[in-house]
Subunit: 157 residues, 2 copies
């Protein structure tokens, strides 16, 4: 059973580890790139060898999408779902190669109640995506909308 | 014929408009979400109606992937391809609904030669993704690696 978490359950420094691993095979790397990022270094090993990537590399957006899937499968489980208001940072420090197995780990950086909407707040979360060697292939800092367990009472007259 | 652009060809304030439009139909919204972001508000109209999105909404990562496709099809065509070093910002100010037709427009914010690698530099680009009503559904600020037309001569002894 997974625990559903409300804003009150989050604190800075909390870590969430994803147990799922997803393998990026050559077929899925090329299929994603064909649809969304059809550039030679994501599609063809020969062309990729002379590119900046020096070999076939997954689209960063494929890595980002797989990271989302790994997060949904992880223990980071806010009530109402994983709803990103946006990201302050998204980087791909090294390429993802066909055959790489990815996993995620997240850390809560900030917890902020909303001033304008007392029934919810934002948590700022750093998420690292790692390959099978423990190397970071994506790092992001995102802001998630999280509902409060109990809305504060209405102001007295 | 498309023009291939080197670092020397970019200047702050340049704008690139994508002529391609991509329609986000319900099937593709659900198919992407099933694979990468399997949460009820991206998969089921009934569950979505009582969610924060108040109706079926595309995964933000689907919008991001489609934006990449629109960029690859646009006139923003650096020599060596569109290679993102990372993003300083990525936001989804309003949901993408099934039936929305998306397009992109980009503006160059900064052009910086690399100090450590004289054969390349970085351009900072804001890209807005708009729906058929001209409303921004995604905005990002990314840093792209762009090669120089000619590497500077080696230092004289």
């Amino acid at each position: 059973m997974m625990t559903t978490l409300f804003l009150e359950d989050f604190t800075p420094g909390q870590r969430f580890v994803g147990r799922t691993r997803i393998r990026m095979d050559e077929h899925s790397v090329k299929a994603f790139a064909s649809e969304f990022d059809p550039q030679p270094f994501h599609l063809d090993a020969g062309a990729a060898s002379s590119s900046i990537f020096r070999g076939l590399a997954a689209s960063g957006w494929h890595t980002a999408a797989i990271t989302m899937r790994l997060l949904v499968d992880s223990e980071l489980r806010p009530a109402g779902g994983i709803v990103g208001a946006g990201f302050d940072e998204l980087r791909w420090p090294r390429p993802v190669r066909p055959g790489d197995e990815l996993r995620v780990q997240s850390e809560v950086l900030e917890v902020r109640p909303s001033r304008s909407r007392p029934q919810q707040g934002l948590i700022k979360v750093r998420t690292d995506t790692l390959n099978q060697h423990g190397e970071i292939v994506q790092t992001s800092v995102g802001n998630l909308v999280v509902p409060c367990r109990s809305a504060p009472p209405p102001p007295t007259a």
